[in-house]
Structures are given as structure tokens and as C-alpha cells.
């Protein structure tokens, strides 16, 4: 993660065509089409239960799609051998392994210094010897983040990785994710409920609604992005306005809102 010489681990390009996923009678994703360039950072937002985690699990190859296909660099993802890591929405740490061993899970050779360095980057170096049950929820999430990042995968899937963190730690972790992404140039899919986070980090923000990509908005801001920069707020409000306009939920129109959309960026 830190002192590796493995340069040029470029990400994979994804092409998703007609992707559908049904659970029994419930249709979660319907004929979803999506193209993601190699090395692109894409944020996915959407209301709770709209199918964000489902999409990530399909891309990770953990579930089988009801229909459609996912290609990586032109080959079906399952056969492409692309190195993919998913950080689960629940941390899923092994309770019987120390925090350090959890971070080093699946690594071969001399993994301990690397795991220690990864833990240091998420600010948990002094907790290396503890059991996961002795950590707070946010600390567990950061351990899971370190575990996902240490592998330097070609495709990194993050399912609300910073959901349980306070505002300050959250910004630190956002900077960490951005830094690592810039260093390794992997393809990143980040699911988040925080529109500000999406705009701060992503090249593109996708909104999932009714099982499809409802909004696909590029974020042409230069990095590093300051929250107060001119274009920032406008993009953020554009996404929020779109989310709040979702028809079947009968939410009021944006211009009728008693509160500014910006104040609602946690409301997803």
C-alpha cells in the first residue's frame, strides 16, 4: 500500500448491458446499462433500498444476475480474472483474528509490515493487537477499509465505507481513498449516502432509481476539491434536486421545499 513498486496497476473498464436482478417477485435492477472507463472514480447514490449494494455484489461476482452481462475490458468479468475487492456495507471482520490479521487476510508472504502500514493510514496503528469486538463501529469500518485498500485491486468496490464516521475522520478517510486511487489508478465504485462526499471524490455521480441509472452527472472539478469551490455546490444541488424529484415517492417539488437542498445532503 505504501512502499510498493508495483506501478501502473491500471484499473479495468466496465461495460454493463441489460443488467437485471430479481429477488422472487421483487425486481431490484431492470435492464441497467452502464459504461465505466478504466481508472474512473464513480460514485453511486440513491435512496435506501434502491439496489446499490445489489449492483455492487453483482459486479463483485457474489450474486448471479437474472439477466444481462458485465464485461471487463471486453471480456465477461467472471472470466477476465480482474482483481476485484469489495468492502462490504457491514464490516465483516473475522472476530477470531486480531485487527492486524484481519487487514492481512488473504495476503501471502511478509504481510505484517504492509498490514501495519495500512492500519496506520486509517489511523488505527495502536489498535493492531486488539480483537474486532473491542473496536467501535467506526473503527471496525476503517479496518475493513484498510483491508480492502491493501490489495491494490484493479477494481475497488466500496459500499458506504464511511457511513459510521464523524465528519472529521470522514474527510480524512476521503482524502486517503482519493490519494490511493490517484496513486494506483484503479477503477473505483463508491456507494454513498452523502452527496457532498460523492461530489468531492468522484469523476461521475450516478443516481440509481427504479432499477436503472436515473442520473449520470460528470463532475468536471479539478482536484483536490474544496467544499466551498464555485462549481461544487451547484453540482451537489443538482443531484439533490434530482433525488428529491423522484415521482412515485410524492416528495414536494424542489422549489417548494421549505429548506434549502444543500441542507439535505444527508437525507438520502
Amino acid at each position: 500500500m505504501t512502499q510498493t513498486t508495483l506501478e501502473g496497476t491500471a484499473g479495468v473498464a466496465l461495460a454493463i448491458r441489460g443488467l437485471s436482478k430479481r429477488f422472487g417477485t421483487q425486481t431490484v435492477l431492470t435492464t441497467l446499462d452502464l459504461d465505466i472507463q478504466a481508472g474512473e472514480f464513480v460514485a453511486i447514490v440513491g435512496r435506501s433500498g434502491c439496489g446499490k449494494s445489489t449492483l455492487l455484489r453483482l459486479v463483485a461476482g457474489l450474486d448471479r444476475a437474472s439477466a444481462g452481462r458485465i464485461d471487463a475490458d471486453g471480456v465477461p468479468l467472471a472470466q477476465s480474472g480482474a482483481d476485484t475487492r469489495l468492502m462490504f456495507q457491514d464490516a465483516r471482520l473475522l472476530p477470531w483474528k486480531s485487527v492486524l490479521a484481519n487487514v492481512g487476510l488473504g495476503l501471502a508472504g511478509d504481510w505484517q509490515p504492509r498490514a501495519r502500514a495500512a492500519l496506520g493510514e486509517v489511523g488505527l496503528a495502536e489498535h493492531a493487537h486488539k480483537w474486532p469486538s473491542q473496536l467501535s463501529g467506526g473503527q471496525r469500518q476503517r479496518v475493513a477499509l484498510a483491508r480492502a485498500l491493501i490489495h491494490e485491486p484493479q477494481l475497488l468496490l466500496l459500499d458506504e465505507p464511511l457511513g459510521a464516521l464523524d465528519a472529521l475522520t470522514r474527510i480524512e478517510m476521503q482524502q486517503l481513498i482519493e490519494r490511493l486511487w490517484q496513486r494506483h489508478r484503479c477503477t473505483v465504485l463508491l456507494v454513498t449516502h452523502d452527496v457532498e462526499e460523492a461530489v468531492a471524490l468522484a469523476d461521475r455521480v450516478l443516481l440509481i432509481e427504479e432499477g436503472r441509472v436515473g442520473l449520470d452527472l460528470p463532475v468536471p472539478l479539478s482536484r483536490p476539491r474544496a467544499r466551498g469551490a464555485t462549481g461544487f455546490g451547484a453540482i451537489e444541488e443538482q443531484v439533490l434536486a434530482r433525488v428529491l424529484r423522484q415521482p412515485e415517492l410524492a416528495t414536494p417539488q424542489v422549489d417548494e421545499l421549505p429548506i434549502a437542498p444543500g441542507a439535505l445532503r444527508w437525507a438520502l
Binding site: G61, L62, T84, L94, G106, W131, Q134, R147
Partner: protein, 256 residues
């Protein structure tokens, strides 16, 4: 916490047994209980010292201990193996589980006549009974433990590249271990019960034999001694099992 407090906590559980022994001694020496029925504890202790000095006690203790250990190792080992097979493979479950569950419903003690026909009063008879009785608790808990390992953790480990032996060693076995150890503790308790029965019915050595032999010579003190020895052995082996639990499950919030 003061020293007195600590002492109290340590000693309180032993207060009732100590009082009981004192009352027993008092009642026996004052003729309230005939020494045929229950000799005073000091007599029992004396009998124990005599037997320890002439070495008989240790011979019988050793034999009983080895029988329990070997019987448990065979039964527990087989139970673990079968449980691993049925727990880990659907095909194994299909082939074996129903048969094992059927045999499980036979009370081990119901086998005694058959065991005597097969093995006579040999060593093998006792080992067979102990092994038969300890197999099932370990089997059931291993099987159940593996099946109830958190599927989310297995999925996570797989997606982090763990397959085969590393997946078993790092995820499935530790996940099933709490349940397996419950089975082991249960089986250990059961091993002693079966051994007592087997040694009492037919043996030429061991604590059960010591007791039955003493009965013939009306040595009630030795009979009581043998019973107490079983209690002590059972307690010691349970301690050992708990100690293993504390070491192996130290990650578990219940052991911190």
C-alpha cells in the same frame, strides 16, 4: 476490591460443601449414621491414604483415566471427523447424516449386553462404550457448528481469495469452534458416566472395580472413596475443557 473481598469470593462456593462434610463427620461420630451406611469422612480419608500408600489407588486411578481418555479420543475423534464431513459437504450429509442420527437414538447403556457378548469384559468393551457415547455429542455440535458459521464471513473470505484449507483454517473451523467445544464438554461428562457403569458391571481394575470389590468385603469407606474420586475426576476434566475454551476462544467477548 479489598483482600477480604477477594478471599470471600474465592471461598464462598466452598462454604456449603465444607459445612456438609463437618455435619457428616459430626453425625457419624455421634452414632446418628451407622458406619455401614456412611462412614465418617475421616475414615474415608484414612482409607484413601492407605490405598495411596500401598499404590493400589494410583493403579486404579491411572487405568480409569486412560480408559476415559482413549475412549473419548476415539469417540470424539470419530465424531469430529464425521461432523466435519457432513458439515462441509452436501454429499457427505446426504450419505451419512441420517444413519448417524439413527444410531444416535440408541441409548449406549442398552448396548451393554451386546457389548459383553462381543468383547467379554475386556478393555475393548469399556473403550467401546465410552467411544460410542462420546461420538454423538461431538458429532452433532461439530455438524451444527459448521452449518451455522456466519455465511457473510465465508462470502467475505472467499472474495478475498481464501479457498480450500486456508478458508477452513481461518474461517470455518474458528467459526464452528465454540459449538464444537460445547460438544466436547458434554462428551467428557458423558464419558465418565459411561465408564462408571462399564467398570461397575464388569472389570478387574479401575475405580469402578475398586468400589465393587470393596462392596464384597463391606468396606463402605472405600466405596464412598471411589464415588468421591469419580466426582473429582469429572470436575478436573471439566476444568481442563474450560481451560481449553478460555485459550481457544479468547477472542470471544464472553471470555474477555
Amino acid at each position: 476490591m479489598t483482600i477480604a473481598n477477594v478471599l470471600f469470593k474465592r471461598l464462598a462456593p466452598w462454604a456449603a460443601p465444607a459445612l456438609l462434610v463437618l455435619a457428616w463427620q459430626w453425625a457419624a461420630t455421634h452414632g446418628l449414621i451407622g458406619s455401614r451406611i456412611l462412614p465418617p469422612p475421616l475414615e474415608v480419608l484414612k482409607a484413601g491414604v492407605t490405598l495411596a500408600e500401598n499404590g493400589e489407588l494410583w493403579t486404579h486411578l491411572k487405568i480409569s483415566f486412560w480408559r476415559a481418555l482413549i475412549g473419548f479420543a476415539i469417540g470424539g475423534g470419530l465424531g469430529l471427523l464425521l461432523g466435519l464431513i457432513t458439515g462441509l459437504s452436501r454429499r457427505g450429509e446426504l450419505l451419512l447424516d441420517t444413519s448417524v442420527q439413527m444410531i444416535r437414538n440408541i441409548p449406549p447403556l442398552a448396548l451393554i449386553p451386546l457389548v459383553i457378548l462381543w468383547f467379554g469384559i475386556d478393555e475393548a468393551a469399556k473403550l467401546f462404550l465410552v467411544a460410542f457415547g462420546t461420538l454423538f455429542p461431538v458429532y452433532i455440535n461439530t455438524y451444527h457448528g459448521i452449518r451455522s458459521v456466519d455465511a457473510g464471513l465465508v462470502e467475505m473470505a472467499r472474495s478475498y481469495g481464501l479457498r480450500g484449507w486456508p478458508l477452513f483454517r481461518d474461517v470455518i473451523l474458528p467459526g464452528a469452534l465454540p459449538s464444537i467445544l460445547v460438544g466436547v464438554r458434554f462428551a467428557i461428562g458423558f464419558a465418565w458416566i459411561l465408564l462408571i457403569v462399564a467398570e461397575t458391571i464388569s472389570a478387574s481394575s479401575g475405580i469402578g472395580y475398586l468400589a465393587m470389590n470393596a462392596r464384597e468385603f463391606l468396606q463402605t469407606d472405600v466405596v464412598v472413596l471411589a464415588i468421591l474420586l469419580y466426582a473429582v475426576l469429572g470436575k478436573l476434566s471439566d476444568w481442563a475443557a474450560r481451560w481449553v475454551e478460555r485459550i481457544w476462544l479468547r477472542w470471544h467477548p464472553a471470555y474477555q
